[in-house]
């Protein structure tokens, strides 16, 4: 359903070129729940942006539902985003001036659905996840977990081909994280495709497949039975029991040490190439 072939993304030019994605190959089938892990700056968000049609790849091809979309125009991309992609962001996912119901209905507005119709549909969907009593709340009146759940409902309203979530629980405590993950899990069980970035190995237990990234490339890709933390992630988890955010990052770093180096790793359908285009590894952004 989603097919990336040799997708690269470069920022800047000349000596200052940064390779955010380095010839990534990725196939996502309908119904998969993919968790992406990797250290800060490894290109996870860049990959999501390209799959979500917010960004264009510098090289490579991208087919979404059989259609090549790597180089379509801005207007067309907006429409594909509207109809085929659902987004959940890490923070401030909702528009602060609209209430919950209007937020959920917004993608339908851009499709031209009448106000009464779309509000009705939004209300129905909110009811399904037990948020109907919050529909007239403003976003600031919701807890962080509730905001994310509303954002997930909104992402689903156009019945998209894929839901993309960049660290959806990154700003939540473990309790709220769990509630949000349970919702994503239900959405997955209902047959939806989900692509999620997370720094928390624990959360890979909800995923059906875990993809590890490093320096803009996919370095490991393993299927993971739902309910289980896959081998590689578990290794890190037991080595560094998660307590604080710093520990979390330490955990990620250890994870990266634990996995084979990207040059020698056997990646699915990825021919290892050694041309590195004068790669300049920029200082890693430290988040938060």
């Amino acid at each position: 359903m989603i097919e990336l072939q040799d997708v690269s993304k470069l920022y800047g030019f000349g000596d200052a070129t940064t390779v955010a994605l380095d010839e990534v190959n990725l196939r996502i089938e309908k119904g998969e729940f993919i968790a992406i892990m990797g250290p800060s700056g490894s290109g996870k968000t860049t990959l999501l942006n390209i799959i979500g049609l917010l960004d264009k790849p510098t090289h490579g091809s991208y087919r979404l539902s059989g259609r090549s979309v790597a180089r379509t125009g801005a207007n067309q991309r907006a429409k594909v985003r509207r109809d085929k992609i659902g987004f959940v962001f890490q923070t401030f996912s909702l528009l602060s001036r609209l209430n919950v119901l209007e937020n959920v209905a917004l993608p339908l507005a851009y499709k031209g659905v009448s106000r009464t119709k779309r509000l009705k549909q939004a209300a129905d969907m909110l009811a399904e996840v037990g948020l109907h009593d919050r529909q007239y709340f403003m976003p600031r009146q919701l807890s962080g977990g509730q905001v994310q759940r509303v954002a997930i409902v909104r992402a689903l309203i156009n019945n998209p081909a894929i839901v993309i979530a960049d660290e959806p629980t990154g700003n939540l405590d473990s309790g709220s994280s769990r509630v949000v993950m349970e919702l994503l899990s239900e959405v997955h069980k209902a047959g939806n495709t989900i692509l999620m970035v997370t720094h928390n190995p624990e959360l890979t237990r909800y995923a059906s497949r875990v993809v590890y990234m490093h320096d803009g490339a996919i370095v490991h890709d393993e299927a993971s039975p739902i309910g289980d933390v896959p081998k590689l992630a578990r290794k890190v988890m037991y080595l560094f029991p998660r307590k604080t955010e710093e520990d979390d990052f330490a955990g990620v770093a250890a994870l990266m040490q634990a996995i084979p180096d990207k040059k020698t790793s056997k990646k699915r359908k990825h021919k290892t190439k050694n041309k590195r285009r004068g790669k300049k590894v920029t200082p890693k952004r430290s988040k938060r």
Binding site: G52, A74, R81, R82, R97, A109, Y110
Partner: protein
């Protein structure tokens, strides 16, 4: 969709009350000032018309200097019908003689300005004017008296005075001060009559006839030792309807006697009114031109408000784009908000102009005639400006890169 845009726009206005308020305020100022200026202009023209009618169509006025020259900046030259122009020299007794000798002339009166103040035993009146006029003056300007009578030909050298309404009230403090006396330059004058209130003459500065007193022409020459200062000569043709030819004849005679110098003006009532209206139009255009600065301020205010709004709402723009809003849909959203600002300003401006009109009527003697055109014209200009200046921030919003916008916090 439009309903949604409207709701968003209102929410934006309310969440940024001060900023939106200022943008709206400058629009309101523009609409109110333009509507009021146009209204005042209309009222002045209306007065010119009614005064012109009151004085009759046949009045010919002779004034020193060239009136209606705006560019030399002499505001005193703006004379309405029989208003008086000071500061442009004066006419001589010889000029008066020539006017009286002209072909087909009927009634004639000089208007001789006498410098100085006048007083009763109790009080001196400082801000009034004294004019020496002939017995035909009253019928020439077609102004009736409330009490008493005007001078007859027999009163030509008498020490009698006819006074304006305001003088009666402020100096004598009674409505009918007939028979009471006042003194000018040490000479005593007995009040013979009181004029009816002269209609307010918006643009005639320093010639409020309600604050003037009138004495016989000959007497006025005597008390100023023969040195006269004729600021105006009024004439009517003997036969009705001959004012144009009379004006022409007077002009020729005076022109010749002044050795071809163009230092005075002879105007028939019609020309006078037409000139006055032209002057009013010019003044309106001039003030409106200045008020256009207010229009620019309004436009920039709207643009600034929207630009700040676009910057502040970068994250929102990113989310909307991620959810599938096209550039055009975003353009419309922000453009619509600018439109709501300018329309709100225009509507409040109309209300403000009506209020200003109301208060000018009850608090001052200005009587602006605010027509619906006077209200609609600046409103449309303000809205057009909102559309024009609103497109820049809207374009900026629609062109934003979704990823950069999403990276923006809050």
């Amino acid at each position: 969709m439009l309903g949604n845009d409207f709701k968003m726009a209102i929410a934006m206005l309310r969440s940024q009350k001060w900023r939106s308020g200022l943008a709206i305020f400058s629009t309101v100022v523009f609409v109110v000032s333009i509507a009021t200026i146009i209204g005042l202009g209309a009222s002045v023209k209306h007065q010119i018309n009614t005064q012109s009618k009151r004085a009759g169509q046949d009045l010919v006025t002779v004034r020193p200097g060239q009136p209606f020259r705006l560019n030399n900046g002499q505001a005193a030259d703006i004379n309405l019908t029989y208003g008086l122009g000071f500061g442009a020299g004066s006419l001589s007794g010889h000029d008066l003689k020539l006017v009286k000798e002209s072909n087909g002339v009927g009634q004639v009166s000089a208007v001789n300005f006498v410098a100085g103040s006048f007083k009763t035993e109790e009080q001196e009146y400082l801000n009034g004017s004294i004019f020496g006029v002939e017995d035909s003056f009253r019928s020439l300007i077609n102004q009736d008296l409330d009490f008493g009578t005007f001078f007859s030909p027999l009163d030509d050298t008498s020490h009698q005075v006819v006074i304006g309404r305001t003088i009666a009230e402020e100096l004598f403090k009674e409505n009918v001060p007939l028979g009471r006396s006042l003194s000018i330059r040490g000479q005593n004058f007995v009040v013979k009559g009181v004029f009816q209130t002269f209609q307010p003459n918006t643009l005639v500065l320093g010639s409020d006839f309600n604050r003037a007193i009138f004495i016989p022409y000959q007497t006025s020459l005597e008390i100023s030792d023969g040195s006269n200062q004729i600021v105006q000569i009024l004439a009517k043709p003997a036969k009705p309807g001959q004012s144009e030819s009379l004006a022409k004849d007077i002009k020729e005679r005076l022109f010749k006697s002044h050795f071809g110098q163009n230092d005075l003006s002879v105007l028939s009532q019609k020309q006078s009114a037409a000139f006055s209206k032209q002057v009013v139009d010019k003044i309106i255009a001039f003030i409106a031109g200045i008020a256009t600065i207010a229009l620019l301020a309004a436009g920039i205010g709207i643009m600034n408000t929207m630009l700040l709004s676009v910057t502040e709402r970068t994250r929102e723009i990113g989310i909307r784009k991620a959810l599938g809003a096209t550039n055009r849909q975003l353009l419309r959203l922000f453009w619509f908000e600018a439109l709501v600002l300018s329309v709100t300003g225009a509507v409040l401006g109309i209300i403000g102009a009506l209020l200003a009109n109301y208060f000018l009527h009850i608090l001052t003697n200005l009587k602006p005639l605010v027509s619906w055109q006077a209200l609609i014209l600046p409103s449309i200009m303000a809205i057009a400006l909102g559309i024009l200046f609103g497109i820049i921030p809207a374009l900026k919003a629609s062109k934003k890169d979704p990823i950069d916008s999403l990276r923006h916090e809050a």
